[in-house]
Amino acid sequence: MSDDVQKGFDTYEAGVDRALAKFPERKKTFSTGSKSPVQRLYTPLDDGKRDYVKDIGFPGEYPYTRGVQNTMYRGRLWTMRQYAGFSTAEESNKRYKFLLSQGTTGLSVAFDLPTQIGYDSDHPLSQGEVGKVGVAIDSLADMETLFDGIPLDKVSTSMTINAPAAVLLAMYIAVAEKQGMPADKLEGTIQNDILKEYIARGTYIYPPEPSMRLITDIFAYCSKSVPNWNTISISGYHIREAGSTAAQEVAFTLADGIAYVDAAIKAGLDVDSFGPRLSFFFNAHNDLFEEVAKFRAARRVWAKVMKDRFGAKNPKSLMLRFHTQTGGSTLTAQQPDNNIVRVAIQALAAVLGGTQSLHTNSRDEALALPTEASVRIALRTQQIIAYESGATETIDPLAGSYYVESQTDRIQKEAEAYIAMIDSMGGAVKAIERGYVQQEIQDAAYACQMDIESGDRVVVGMNKFQIKEESPKGLLRVDPIVGEQQVARLKAIRAQRDNARVQTALKALKHAAETTENLMPPILEAVKAYATLGEISDVMRAVFGEYQQKVIL
């Protein structure tokens, strides 16, 4: 059979060569969105030695190339989980209720920068930043308002919080307790991925060693007390947004994952005690086929890592479960309605790639936080894919495509090579210290910008098909009075709370931080005493120190 295919292919190619003389192709080179070369045609000749059972397999079975659940979306759709939050807890609570009323099936909390970096709203560095990129949370009181009227036993919540993740998790547990929900019933996720903060996102507080300790403390605590909680969302989204290629996104994310597993094992945890509750977070850019291949490759690579490298035995430890967000950096300020189309393609890629949870960006992404109208369209995009596109009628529909399987293998190979490179440097923490990961990402980002400016990479509406634009109207703006409101609220909390209890709690936290005690119990007590996020974070700052970013240009 393959002799016939080869003969046929050779004839086809000869015909193309003749045609090219008269009708050249549109470009000199054709490549994926990540600049990987793409053949004119893929055929059975590209299948090589690939073995269906070993390499592709079945959904819900090792190596999980086709998906981590055996019925996938036929059993249950992905969670429609829109990242949201701005201004005060009251405002964000309103937005969450709006989203739930429109059909989101999970919550996702965006915190403002002071909260993400462990500063109270009245800290000098918080000026101008309060409530701008997410909700301001200074204490348990704000958290109670944030989830007021939202049943935490019916809805799972993902919180995009990293350096102070332990504190926000403790607050969530405390809020649930007040609602009468025991911690062992809670479902949700904390991002809690400090390595990518050093690499690409920038909301770090402490240096790597104490940060890893905080993370492994959370793994240990949750495995006993909050067993249905995803303790980490090992992220590639931000790495990709910073400019990496698709293969680098997989490689650097999984390398970070390896570092976390290593740290947890070193801390004395059994891999299967925390393995099942690791989760991941990937991007979805425009090249649908490359993105689908990327998700499939990521599952296959991680399954092998957990099985072969770490000897995990529980099948759940081998399953790469992930959330996806469509690529913000691909969206334009020019002709913003075009972004609805981009997001639809990206969301479809995530679904065809088997994501467990999905956030779709709004059309105003390059301009401001989304209005209700914009986020509703983003949500409808998911719903149309789910109910109208046919993409959920069968599992992993692109499997077997000569092109997609070829790209899946290619991304696997490239990712594994990067992981080996990082291994040779001593792992992700060392590679970050050296600036290796950051440099790779920057180089890719610069190349991308140069391609856009040369016209090699077309961005519709931006460097081709431009129009004369009016200033956009009706964008969301965060009222600057939010800063003042939060400061006033803080004053009130500090006056009303039992300050003796707070001081005792902070002292106990300091002691725990100085020893190897698990930090979650003392953080939980401090949170319940209405110690503020800043006060708690500062105790740890005093013990752990602060991370000094090395400037890598």
């Binding site: 920068l113 970096i117 918080s126 701008k132 950096s329 980002a445 961005v459 400037v551």
Partner: protein, 133 residues
């Protein structure tokens, strides 16, 4: 020999998005300028201090967090306090069109929003330098 244009690329405030700042910094270098990049989490005080120390002709600030209305004018205030009026100050990032007139009134000479080619920023700097005039 002509003195190279010296630029301080800075990230004011808590915003951790540095892709744009790094791309700008590199493109300015490739265009023959001398560039110092501050890294993240610079206060207005730190930015002005670095600008003086590095003796720059241009301060280029990148911000995506929405805190520009507080931080950019604060930088201009500090420059005024130090009686520095010959440094070209520009900004970029996610800055609503509606905010640009206010920033310009405060002394930010140019604001470069998403989609601006680096060539445009480079030309603007070359054509609007205050020093050596």
């Amino acid at each position: 020999m002509e003195r190279k244009i010296r630029v301080l690329v800075a990230k004011p405030g808590l915003d951790g998005h540095d892709r744009g700042a790094k791309v700008i910094a590199r493109s300015l270098r490739d265009a023959g300028m001398e560039v110092v990049y501050t890294g993240l989490r610079q206060t207005p005080e730190q930015i002005v201090s670095a600008a003086i120390q590095e003796d720059v002709d241009v301060i280029a600030m990148s911000i995506l967090s929405g805190a520009h209305n507080h931080l950019f004018p604060r930088v201009m205030e500090l420059l005024k306090e130090k009686q520095i009026d010959d440094v070209l100050v520009i900004g970029g990032g996610v800055i609503p069109d509606d905010d640009i007139p206010g920033l310009k009134a405060a002394g930010i000479a140019g604001v470069f929003t998403p989609g601006t080619p680096t060539t445009e920023t480079i030309e603007f700097i070359k054509n609007n330098l205050k020093r050596g005039k």
